[in-house]
Amino acid sequence: MMMQQSQPPTQPTVTAIISGNRKKFHTSLPDGSESVEEYDTSNGALMVRKRREKVTTASETKTWKYEVGEPEARMAILDGNSQTIMTENVNNPIFVVQDSVPSYVWRVRNIFYPQEKTYQVSCQPRDRKITIRTTNKKYFKVFNIPDMDALGLPYEEDKLSWSYSSPTLIIRYEKPPQIKRLEEEKRKEREKVPVVDQENCKTQ
């Protein structure tokens, strides 16, 4: 347990490392929060993006919030002694946000309702929402695209596509050109960040 918090930097500081076939970037923001992004070294796709808020007291532990990528554990309710008292059953579907260079991807894994016509995926441009429904009323999910909301870009029904191959439902939304351009710029900037040589990294 750290007694003294290190001073938060006044500007975001980025550290990059390569581990396996992933290039990882760790960013510390001035408000004390952190974010981690992991990219596939072969095609440059974003695999994981997670954020964590500032930890203010010693007893508090803030968990990582996954924006992209699969969290390790399912939703669980803990009691005072961090013992699990309720979890989602393993047979329930899992919703995962993914990313690829040309489009946004979402996967609903572990979903077993057979016929394709069970699933209804639709986009509500007015509410800025994408909805997954099942005709048997077993699964329902509403989500949005934060990147597009941030820029205020309109949702378009025809950019949305989906497919089902048991046991996974895959939904894609083609990224608009503005987003693609922005991501390309960010990629170029990322390449400037020096990679920390792990060989020389002092172990503590």
Binding site: M75, I77, L78, D79, Q83, T84, I85, M86, T87, E88, N89, V90, N91, N92, R133, T134, K137, K138, Y139, F140, K141, V142
Partner: protein, 498 residues
């Protein structure tokens, strides 16, 4: 066996509330343009009510702090009723603290501490919190007990909304909580994701059947829509005093329930003020200034008044409403007299709302409302007599006559309270005027009358002229009283016409 029967019978009866002096008041009785109407239990005092209505708007807007209002008027002109009406209009959430000025004198606490606590009780802090919760209708609870009978239980809970369904694995604690809350399939529940606390919202409409036997307290709710996991904004309202008590180190929050809070250090209060200020800046909390009502304010002494002077200037001060039925009298703790027994400097900071005696017509209306409240059936003649009684003695005496005369009426097996019942009560119970007159008349027959007489003579110089005048008048009236004592009720009005 008998005992069990009695308790059963009591359960079946609808629980009766006790009727207080102001239980008929349900609001200020003002319309949108602040015109006073005879509604919500309020009658007359239209100017005073209009004034308080403006104060109400001031409170609602909430950006003015530390304003003082004085309700001044003779006894029984509805000062407390107006304050109660304001409390009702403000609603349950607003911090409305009502104290009698004599409450602050205690051996355990200094006067200023008691006042500070009352002031801080009148300022609410509304804290907004966003929590994630699971909300759905229970389809099935399956509990697996180990075959040996000991060891941890496990189970499954299936919840649904109109759009989806999810199965959850349960641990032992969750099973215990579900059993304790008596959750069964068909209930709509919420589970707080941070704490795991279960709340039962009610039964689902889809599960209600025509001939189902349900208790009167079962609520039917719609099955929730959309996703099971939701973000909900929860608002807590606490007052500053509660925060003070919880944070005063040697007490702990249990003191809130025992009421034994003792004195709270000013350092604690200062820290809380800064903390609440921080929350407000961060947008986490909102300050809701409330109302502190001090009844019988003339019972405060000069130290309290000077403390209030200063306390009202604090930006975290509530709106203070005071009520007094005194005229020009000495300020407690001094030899100085002042209007309403309040020092002029404080009086100058107050908005003074006078209440005036009720007219005969208004008294009749109030008595009618009270008759309804106390569930008494009275004839028109009876009401006429009662109204006259209210005009000639006091409104309070007339109100007290209602229940007693109803009992007299029941005794003679009458169905409606008549004038004769009221006359009977009037002959049985003396009112203030008659009591005073009687004492004046027969003072020398009472204990210690000599001594009191002496002291009266000794201090005669300090007795104001008006008091002596009144005494003389009453003495003169007492002769008449002797005569009227045995007369029928109808003649009493003329007897008191002096």
């Amino acid at each position: 066996m008998d005992v069990a029967k009695i308790s059963e019978a009591k359960d079946l009866q609808t629980r009766m509330e006790r009727i207080g002096a102001h239980s008929h008041i349900r609001g200020l009785g003002l319309n949108d343009s602040l015109e006073a109407r005879a509604s919500e239990g309020m009658v007359g005092q239209s100017k005073a009510r209009k004034g308080v209505g403006i104060i109400y708007q001031m409170i609602k807007e909430g950006n003015l702090s530390g304003r003082g209002v004085l309700l001044a008027g003779q006894p029984g002109t509805g000062k407390t009723a107006i304050a109660m009406g304001l409390a009702q209009t403000l609603g349950a959430e607003a911090a409305f603290t009502s104290i009698a000025a004599s409450e602050i004198y205690s051996h355990e606490m200094s006067k200023t501490e008691a006042l500070t606590q009352a002031i801080r009780r009148s300022i609410a802090v509304r804290i907004k919190e966003e929590t994630e919760m699971i909300e759905g209708e229970v389809i099935e609870i399956q509990i697996d007990r180990p075959a040996s009978g000991t060891g941890s239980k496990s189970g499954k809970l299936t919840l649904k909304t109109t759009d989806m369904e999810t199965v959850y694995d349960l641990g032992g604690k969750m099973i215990d909580a579900l059993t304790k809350e008596k959750v069964t399939s068909g209930d709509v529940i919420t589970i707080d994701k941070a704490t795991g606390r279960i709340t039962r919202l009610g039964r689902s409409f889809t599960r209600s059947k025509d001939f189902e036997v349900v208790g009167s307290n079962v609520k039917f709710v719609q099955c929730p829509e959309g996703e099971l996991q939701k973000r909900k904004e929860v608002v807590h309202t606490v007052n500053l005093h509660e925060i003070d008590v919880i944070n005063s180190r040697n007490q702990g929050f249990m003191a809130l329930f025992s009421g034994d809070t003792g004195e709270i250090k000013p350092e604690v209060r200062e820290q809380i003020n800064t903390k609440v200020g921080e929350w407000r800046e961060e947008g986490k909390a909102e300050i809701v200034p409330g109302v502190l009502f001090i009844d019988e304010v003339h019972m405060l002494d000069i130290e309290c008044f000077s403390f209030l002077n200063q306390a009202m200037e604090n930006e975290l001060a509530p709106i203070i409403i005071m009520a007094s039925n005194r005229g020009i009298t000495t300020i407690r703790g001094t030899d100085q007299s002042s209007p309403h027994g309040i020092p002029i400097d404080l009086l100058d900071r107050l908005l003074i709302i006078p209440t005036v005696p009720y007219s005969e017509d208004e008294i009749r209306k109030i008595l009618k409302i009270r008759l309804e409240e106390e569930d008494v059936d009275m004839s028109d003649d009876g009401l006429d007599a009662l109204t006259r009684l209210g005009v000639e003695t006091s409104l309070r005496y007339a109100i007290q006559t209602i229940t007693t005369s109803a009992l007299v009426c029941a005794k003679r097996k009458g169905s409606q309270v008549e004038a004769q019942d009221i006359a009977k009560v009037y002959s049985l119970f003396v009112d203030v005027q008659r009591s005073t007159q009687y004492l004046q008349e027969y003072n020398e027959m009472y204990m210690f009358s000599e001594k009191q007489d002496k002291s009266l003579f000794a201090s005669r110089a300090s007795v104001p002229m008006s008091v002596i005048n009144v005494t003389l008048k009453l003495m003169a009236a007492s002769n008449k009283f002797q005569l009227s004592h045995n007369r029928s009720y109808g003649a009493i009005g003329s007897a008191f016409g002096c």
